[in-house]
């Protein structure tokens, strides 16, 4: 059954998560993500799920890790300062291959910054916020409708690859209300459980994530954030165990990049003038491209892993590349890997929650 609703991105996330099968939420309120928590508190018990207001973000992230091992699809939502507090737990989830969805509704930082103002400053933190060699998936919606659709996708990726997925959303989308069609999930990935002789932390083919046992079902499971072999036994000395583990954790994401990485082209696909963007910033970019013509908009949906080959392919033959961002320049580093930095025009805006307007993009396009 599809429903046509008028929802904020934050609200859309809740319905999307529930339709994706999320049945456990723990969180600590923080602007501008709090509405996710409010609505989860109301809606999750109605579908037999569990909602917990944790004492802080450290507890919240660890609670959802525990719930995931107990077999429930689990999520938390936070914003800047709370996201920083969760980093240790997220690293643990990467190491223990725990499927999770972490929503970060971006506000202006660093530190407490401007709580109610939109920003896109957490891009690099979402990718690299943890210590050690670690890889996870980062997805960014552009509209409340996509908040609904892509959060379902986020759960599917988390389950398919046994990895935490960071859902990186601008405050504009979180608090902006638009028409959202609640269409339900096309497909839901079901967590694979191991047979008795299948190890829960290893697989012959690194592209295939190992199956995940559920606690309390008779499997003997060791879960540790320390280096472990394929059966979960700690090895904090050996070279080989560590090398094998962390390369596999990387390869299960990067070697599946063709399946994970998504982007979309708007405007004129053959144009030599190209805008590269993510999140809400793409909307004025698409608008600007439509108004002036002769412009392609390359909009990244998956922000990590990033398919640099695809990016290079899309930018080959580009005459002018424009990168608008609501930060002081983060996505531009990716574009600069495949296109000369000196030829990239940037539009950066921070603070006050002021969007980049189409007129500003047009000015740079036509300069």
């Amino acid at each position: 059954m599809t429903e046509r609703l008028f929802l904020s991105g934050n609200e859309a996330i809740v319905y999307g998560a529930i339709d994706a099968g999320c049945r456990f939420y723990a969180g600590y309120p923080i602007t501008p993500s709090s509405e996710i928590m409010h609505l989860m508190a109301k809606e999750l018990p109605r579908v037999g799920g569990v909602f917990i207001q944790a004492e802080d973000e450290l507890a919240a992230i660890n609670m959802i890790i525990g719930a995931s091992w107990a077999g429930l699809k689990s999520m938390t939502a936070t914003s800047g300062p709370g996201f920083s507090l969760m980093q240790e737990g997220i690293g643990y989830a990467v190491m223990t291959e725990t499927p999770l969805v972490i929503v970060d509704v971006m506000r202006a930082g660093p530190a407490t910054g401007q709580a109610t103002k939109s920003a896109q400053g957490d891009l690099m933190q979402a990718r690299w916020g943890r210590h050690g060699d670690q890889y996870l998936v980062v997805i960014a919606p552009m509209t409340p409708q996509e908040a609904y659709d892509l959060i379902i996708e986020a759960f599917n990726i988390a389950e398919a690859y046994r990895v935490p997925v960071v859902f990186l959303m601008d405050e504009f989308i979180g608090h902006g209300r638009e028409i959202v069609v609640r269409r339900g999930a096309d497909k839901l990935v079901v967590r694979r459980k191991p047979s008795d002789h299948e190890p829960p932390f290893g697989s012959k083919d690194p592209r295939i994530p190992p199956p995940m046992p559920r606690l309390g079902e008779g499997h003997y499971v060791l879960v540790t954030g320390s280096t472990h072999n394929e059966w979960g036994y700690r090895d904090v000395h050996g070279f080989e165990t560590h090398y094998k583990l962390v390369t596999r954790l990387k390869e299960k994401i990067w070697d599946n990049i063709d399946k994970i990485f998504k982007y979309k082209v708007y405007g004129d696909p053959d144009a030599r003038r190209i805008i590269v963007c993510f999140g809400s910033t793409c909307r004025p970019a698409i608008d600007a491209a439509e108004r002036v013509g002769g412009t392609k908009v390359l909009r990244l949906i998956t922000l990590w892993p990033l398919n640099y080959d695809k990016l290079a392919e899309e930018l080959s033959g580009a005459g002018k590349v424009v990168v608008p961002e609501l930060n002081l320049g983060q996505l531009v580093y990716d574009v600069a890997q495949v296109y000369p930095r000196s030829k990239i025009r940037v539009i950066n805006k921070v603070g006050g929650g002021i969007p980049i307007y189409p007129s500003e993009i047009i000015k740079v396009l036509e300069a």
Binding site: T31, A115, H175, E178, S280, R283, D287, Y357
Partner: protein, 171 residues
């Protein structure tokens, strides 16, 4: 794509006015985007709320030129000068906002006070915006939306005052 917005100060109900307008247009079957910008304070600080709507899906809601803009406080006007400068039809409160070039001054606060609905000044502003937008069925839909919220009697009365103010000014 059509649009209307409200500028004012924290506590005046600017976001609520935009919310009601957004929900109203949603009920009327439009594609709607409702956005707002506010501070961390419950009272004070510039607040901005607006709605864009269309019969087709909305490509970009981040615009500077609003079709209708009602300004209820100087704080909002000062903070969002770019919007004020570029918007088409601007109505502002004659006592709470300094004169706006090309804008129409109206006794919004004064009338609200006179009728005992001062704290629903935002709904007076909504009435004015509704009348200017002139969307078919908007008054009935606003009524429905307000019925689903608190303080219906107060809000609908204030909304009516806004409609009347706009009619009297023939805008």
């Amino acid at each position: 794509m059509r649009s209307a917005g409200f500028l004012g100060m924290g506590g005046q109900g600017i976001v609520f006015a935009a919310t009601v307008l957004g929900e109203t247009l949603y009920r009327l079957g439009y594609y709607v985007a409702q956005l707002q910008n506010y501070g961390a304070s419950v009272r004070g600080g510039a607040v901005y709320g607006y709605v864009v709507f269309d019969e087709d899906e909305i490509v970009n809601p981040f615009i500077e030129e609003l079709e209708v803009l009602v300004i209820l406080h100087e704080q909002g006007r000062r903070r969002w000068e770019n919007i004020v400068r570029k918007s088409e039809k601007i109505i502002y409160d004659k006592d709470l906002v300094n004169p706006v070039k090309n804008g129409i001054a109206m006794p919004i606060a004064e009338e609200a006070d006179k009728h005992g609905v001062y704290r629903a000044m935002n709904m007076v502003a909504l009435g004015i915006a509704s009348r200017i937008l002139g969307v078919k069925g908007i008054d009935e839909a606003v009524d429905e939306v307000l019925r689903s919220r608190k303080n219906y009697e107060l809000n609908i009365k204030a909304y009516g005052i806004g409609l009347e103010l706009a009619e009297r000014a023939r805008i």
